[in-house]
């Protein structure tokens, strides 16, 4: 074992006899493969199939909502709302999510009963996250600048042109439980 390490170290330390261009080419190809592999791997953790591996009860209930089925067939899947889209924030969220692997190993929500008991905590965490980033994941599709108030109902027009326009409120302040069953809403503002 030690000998093997020593040999490896010697290989790493001594200059290669291969041509400079060849080494650069190898490096470039290696980069493409590893970077591509990394991104593909990360995308795989953004699929519905991956999410439902642990959060199966949630996937069942989204099917009734407008973000799953609607007249025009545009859909939002879990990661569209729960994983930031720009790269840096996405990586930060993915690293945070490694904590969730511990929860998976401990079986924190591996039955429907456990999940239901923990739902309030999970929902609150997500509401706070969205409140903090100004509901960025909503805004990836629902852009305020392109909202046509004349197409909105009187009440939505009123709220969107005042509270939302001034930045006093953000989407998730009012639009809770749009894709999920709600936890106990006692004491939550507006309920």
């Amino acid at each position: 074992m030690l000998n093997l390490l020593k040999r490896l170290w010697t290989i790493m330390k001594s200059p290669s006899s291969a041509a400079m261009g060849f080494i650069l080419l190898i490096g470039f190809l290696g980069g493409v493969i590893f970077w591509g592999g990394f991104n593909t791997g990360m995308e795989a953790t953004n699929t519905e199939a991956f999410c439902s591996g642990c959060h199966a009860p949630i996937v069942k209930e989204i099917k009734e909502t407008i973000h799953y089925a609607n007249r025009s067939g545009v859909r939002a899947i879990c990661s569209d709302c729960h994983v930031p889209h720009n790269w840096t924030d996405k990586i930060i969220r993915k690293v945070q999510a490694s904590k969730e692997l511990v929860a998976f190993a401990m079986g924190t929500i591996d039955t429907e009963e456990k999940f239901r008991a923990r739902r309030g905590y999970l929902a609150n965490r997500e509401w706070h996250r969205m409140k903090k980033n100004n509901s960025q994941e909503c805004r990836n599709c629902h852009e305020f600048d392109f909202m046509d108030f004349s197409e909105q109902g009187t009440r939505s027009k009123k709220q969107h042109s005042t509270a939302l326009a001034s930045g006093e409120k953000t989407c998730v302040d009012c639009h809770k439980g749009i894709a999920h069953r709600l936890p106990n809403m006692e004491g939550i503002e507006g309920w």
């Binding site: 909502t65 109902g153 009187t154 009123k158 439980g177 069953r181 709600l182 809403m185 507006g190 309920w191």
Partner: protein, 154 residues
């Protein structure tokens, strides 16, 4: 002897089953010549369902037709959760929120239990709004009628 007995029992069973089956068939197919709102449709046939009615997204309140009628809902309620954890209707129509939301308040009768005791919040028997209040779909009456609301409600 044994063979003969088994044969007779099999025959008996066969006769019995066919007679039950044919009797059932008669009952299932014949609707007795009745033409209903579904048209002349045999019971065993599946008739074509009507297109779903559209519910207008938001329109002005609809007048009541008779005293004590639960007012109909003049907007869609798709995705509204009314359950143990949350009541989406009350997030606008409760006494607490109606003012800010510009919505119709629920009536205080909703605070009463069936024994007539007034509670400090919505009584459990009145909690499930959609049991009495329904959304008004954009639908024409199925049959003509001459019903008119009482004078006081016109």
């Amino acid at each position: 002897m044994k063979k003969c007995l088994t044969g007779m029992m099999a025959l008996g069973l066969f006769v019995l089953s066919t007679s039950v089956w044919s009797a059932g068939e008669v009952m299932q197919t014949d609707n007795g010549g009745v033409t209903s709102l579904r048209g002349y449709q045999q019971i065993s046939e599946v008739n074509e369902s009507e297109a779903m009615k559209r519910v207008p997204r938001d329109h002005s309140t609809v007048d009541r037709n008779y005293v004590q009628q639960p007012p109909v809902i003049p907007h869609t309620t798709r995705g509204y959760q009314v359950n143990l954890n949350a009541n989406k209707c009350l997030s606008c129509h409760s006494f607490k929120n109606a003012g800010a939301m510009g919505a119709t308040k629920i009536s205080v009768t909703h605070f009463e239990t069936r024994e007539g005791t007034t509670l400090s919040d919505v009584s459990p028997r009145r909690y499930f709004c959609l049991q009495c209040h329904v959304t008004q779909a954009d639908a024409k009456p199925l049959v003509g009628n001459t019903f008119r609301p009482v004078d006081s409600l016109q």
